[in-house]
Subunit: 124 residues, 2 copies
DNA sequence: CACAATAGGGATAAATTTCTCCCTATCTGA
DNA sequence: TCAGATAGGGAGAAATTTATCCCTATTGTG
């Protein structure tokens, strides 16, 4: 596994949050787990763009940060479930706030984000 | 400048927000601008860990995403001010929510984040 | 038997972000 | 004159994150 060489900056609440939520898919992973999609394969079906490998890595990080917990059922084929911890559950309103802002401003966001691609990709 | 090779995933509000806020210092840059620290040199004094180079880059991205606007005063030595746009201002409550969660759980967050470093760095 | 589904990880490459070093310019003050 | 403050950017390295490919194992199904 990759081992960090530079210590994180933890000067304020925003930094602390960044450390645990900084990850391309983490917000959505947490969101979908909260919605009841607990098994890795389910989550991946909800987020087809993540590779299985990266999904595993981000789930493990979320687990290390005690936002989710992993339950292994000793059955075959294997079954694993991720659930929010109490701690992780406190994050849901925050994620909701973020997602809501994104939804409210979807059109404008899509516009400003795609600006930089409009010259490059004209075939859309 | 770096030119992205992979198109972003914009499936939901969370993705859209990620595209404009994903950046190591962006949340705090926006926060400090909102608090009245508008000049690059002021911002850097508030966030000593960013290099000036990266601060410039992230400011420019925020500007391209229409969250801040840049005003140049034709004086010498040069004076530049960044201000939140109306759009950027709508983000402040969201950032506040995020930061508040971080502050409320500061101790625990610090604990889980530093877990991975405790073995490596014993001199703290 | 061959294949899909399940969960997960190693090795490695590629993409992306961040950092470091150095350069331009102008004015003020010691 | 020299140092420092101001704003900004190029080139290239380093750090970090994400992606791709391939492998293990077991059970059930066609």
């Amino acid at each position: 596994m990759y081992e960090r060489k530079i210590l994180p900056y933890l000067n304020c609440g925003l930094d602390l949050v960044g450390e645990v939520l900084y990850g391309k898919w983490k917000l959505r992973i947490l969101w979908f787990i909260n919605e009841g999609h607990k098994r890795p394969s389910e989550i991946q079906r909800k987020i087809p763009d993540v590779s299985r490998r990266v999904l595993n890595i981000q789930l493990k990080e979320l687990e290390e940060h005690e936002l989710v917990c992993r339950t292994i059922y000793p059955v075959m084929p294997p079954k694993v479930e991720y659930n929010l911890t109490d701690f992780g559950r406190t994050l849901i309103p925050v994620i909701q706030t973020i997602g809501l802002w994104g939804d409210e401003h979807e059109e404008r966001l899509r516009h400003v984000i795609m600006k930089q691609f409009r010259e490059v990709v004209s075939s859309l």
